[in-house]
Point group: C2
Chain length 459, copies 2
């Protein structure tokens, strides 16, 4: 972003706010719409223009992000705020307070998501925004938190401006994103019974954690939201990759959350004495696996597109320096926005595997063990995000999200939009994770702009 432009437009926004003097709907409660009708018709014209020029308070946003860091800060300057921990519950209490101040009513749903809502001026389905407050162990200060505090800042900005949206607003802080997207997947009805027994880094199982948070794991199925009941969902998030940062681009217009397939690779050769087996007589499973890892990389690099393919884990058995590996297991992961593209990349890799197996006298098998379907964002919302960025004279890039997000669960029952801000050096899930204050504020402004467009144009 051009900093001068940002400052100029921020000043313009301040002027607009003072001109607008909109009504503040502080008494609104509940998600039912129509409690507080907004000025409409000719009287509404001036506030509408003002809303278009609304800008978040970037400094306040950064202050709330910094205040949030108190909950779970580590000596390294990062955050350990795993879901269901005391630090996580404290962060939720802090955020609930901020939203109550802004005229929202907060409650904990059956999945123990923290939900804050405010009525709109018309009888419409709600517009939803949100992200997550939990972190990975020894994580950073931005993942989930930028989107959470961005949504809070948008709401506070609207409250300060006295602007009531046509749609009811809901801000959701999804529980346990990092260890299973439990909260958002409960809303799409995807949480399986067995998951409740899974241990989390908090020391509580997911079921115990939901209960400790005030939810009810026994009634999780009732947390499900049916398709058509939410007008749209928006999530602001740090990119967690280096594309925007390297390109010097402020805003990512997310085209969707990529699909993921994972396979367990098994290479079977023949274990033998590394001293007594001449080179030509070997059926070395690790040499075959090595050629396959190289082939995965080359295939992925050579095919056109934004797909990625990764071997992240490998084990050679028996695994001693003096034994030729007889068996190697490894993971293969392929991601792309289009599931068919994932299949095409896999087919190319699989063909190379056949050649390698034949050359080296080994067998190579692929066993699928994970599937996460791609979740495209709504094309109309993409255009609104791009338009909101253009209004702010921000550079924007349409791009896939390589990482998973709560939004992909919400996409099961509502149109979604996502906004990325740059991660410096693409670092994430690390205390070294960082996004610049100006870019965070710009992201929140795009979130605000998109929300207001949705509110105006969408029924």
């Amino acid at each position: 972003m051009n900093r001068r432009t940002f400052a100029r437009r921020a000043l313009a926004a301040l002027g607009a706010l003072q001109l607008g003097r909109p009504v503040v709907a502080q008494a609104a409660r509940g998600t039912a719409s129509g409690l507080v009708p907004a000025p409409a018709g000719p009287l509404g014209e001036l506030p509408e223009l003002a809303a278009q020029d609304l800008r978040v308070d970037g400094e306040r946003l950064i202050r709330t992000l910094e205040a949030l860091h108190a909950f779970g800060r580590t000596p390294e300057g990062g955050i350990s705020r795993v879901a269901f921990s005391d630090a996580d519950r404290q962060a939720r209490a802090y955020v609930a307070g901020l939203l109550e101040e802004a005229g929202f009513e907060s409650h904990v749903d059956l999945a123990s998501n923290l939900v804050a809502s405010k009525a709109g001026s018309e009888d419409l389905n709600p517009l939803m925004m949100g992200s997550h407050l939990d972190s990975v162990p020894e994580g950073g200060n931005f993942d989930g938190q930028v989107g959470s505090m961005g949504a809070v800042e948008v709401v506070r900005t609207l409250a300060d401006a006295g602007h009531t949206t046509r749609h009811p607003l809901e801000v959701v802080f999804f529980v346990n994103e990092e260890a299973g997207k439990t909260g958002s997947r409960a809303l799409s009805g995807e949480v399986e019974r067995f998951e409740l027994a899974l241990m989390t880094p908090s020391g509580l199982t997911i079921g115990e954690g939901i209960r400790a948070n005030g939810g009810d794991p026994d009634r999780l199925s009732e947390a499900r939201i049916e398709a058509g009941r939410v007008a749209a969902f928006l999530e602001l998030h740090v990119e967690q990759g280096g594309v925007l940062d390297r390109g010097g681009i402020d805003i990512g217009v997310v085209e969707g959350i990529v699909g993921i397939r994972r396979w367990e690779i098994t290479v079977e050769g023949f274990a033998n004495h590394a001293g007594t087996t001449p080179m030509p007589d070997r059926r070395d499973a690790l040499v075959a696996a090595a050629r396959l890892v190289d082939a995965v990389n080359r295939v992925a690099l050579e095919m056109e597109g934004t797909h990625v393919a990764t071997v992240g884990r490998i084990q050679a058995e028996p695994g001693a320096p003096n034994v030729i590996p007889g068996r190697v297991t490894a993971s293969l992961e392929i991601r792309d926005l289009a599931m068919e593209k994932i299949d095409r990349v896999f087919e190319a890799i699989s063909a190379r595997a056949d050649d390698i197996a034949a050359d080296l006298g080994v067998t190579i098998g692929f066993e699928p063990f994970y599937l996460s379907r791609a979740a495209p964002t709504d094309p109309r919302i993409r255009d609104m995000v791009a338009a909101a960025a253009a209004d702010l004279e921000l550079d924007a890039l349409r791009m896939p999200s390589g990482a998973g997000h709560d939004a992909q669960s919400i996409a099961q029952f509502a149109p979604i939009g996502m906004i990325f801000v740059p991660s410096v050096d693409g670092i994430s899930h690390s205390p070294r994770e960082y996004s610049r204050p100006g870019q965070i504020a710009a992201g929140a402004d795009v979130l605000l702009g998109t929300l207001l467009r949705l509110d105006r144009e969408w029924d």
Copy 2:
């Protein structure tokens, strides 16, 4: 081996034995030489001719091998006779009894090697034979045992024939070959103090095991044998590789035990999110390691010689399917009879590593962590082994031993010779380890023939 030839020669040997009627030196005790002078001069001529035609009793040899299997037999038909276990001590007792029967006196030395000795007819340094009785956990019935029972059979054959050698004879059963070559390395003074505290699969430390066997770990340094005190050492062993079996060859004339160098390979790239990091922006340590593993194999295959190079162990960190590996550690092992050749192979691999590191933006380091110097066999003894095989009309091949053996420790203070018999399919350290009875008997005959040549020609 041509079986008809074997049978014919065995009959001839029986005839020779009856003709020879040599004196049996049953009363001989101790390693001091000269207690029982053998017939010499014209009187010795007939027994000498008879000794040349002596053949072991192949059936008896196989029976003793089978009897030995009782000590530590596993349900899979293999052996778990780890050093210092009850099964190991029982096997030692059985073997000591056989040797006492053959007129040898047995004792346990300070390292708890089982040593059986018999005086020769002249005041010479002893000729030593031996191998080990212990196995790896879940091992096979032939590794160490063929050489041990082969030496016993040679001694019994000499006793039956009433043949007293010029040199004193010593048969040594080295303790704990499989978990550190402790017994043979104690004789060469190579056991380090810290090794005594190492735990073995028996549940005893090496020090505790030596004491349980009747040795004295506190006086281990006194077990050392000085150079020049042993005339020569012979070891019969299964090849533990497939060279002889594939070639249909009966006898390996071992040129030496290969030297071994091992390095810890460390590849440092950059760990990153596998979903958000585009393919061209990666510094994937595992892709680099994979290319290196492939390069190790290709370099070793392309260079002339019998060297081998192996990557047996690999670990990618952090090791999750959804994280690009930032660090990979792996082992590299190179073996050859010539240490300079090992260095040349390593240099070629190292040059390839430099190219790979530059191509992929990673660093690749090699840290040496193990060195075992090559132990060539004595060229004169090689010729005697080959001549003994030729006498028996056996096919023989000069070859390195890729595996380590007790003989390599003994080479530190005495000339050594080694004889290999085929391992079917080259399998070793497995219940599937197998060597054919006829080939085992042929190996023992070559051991006998070599011993008698040494006894005649060596002072």
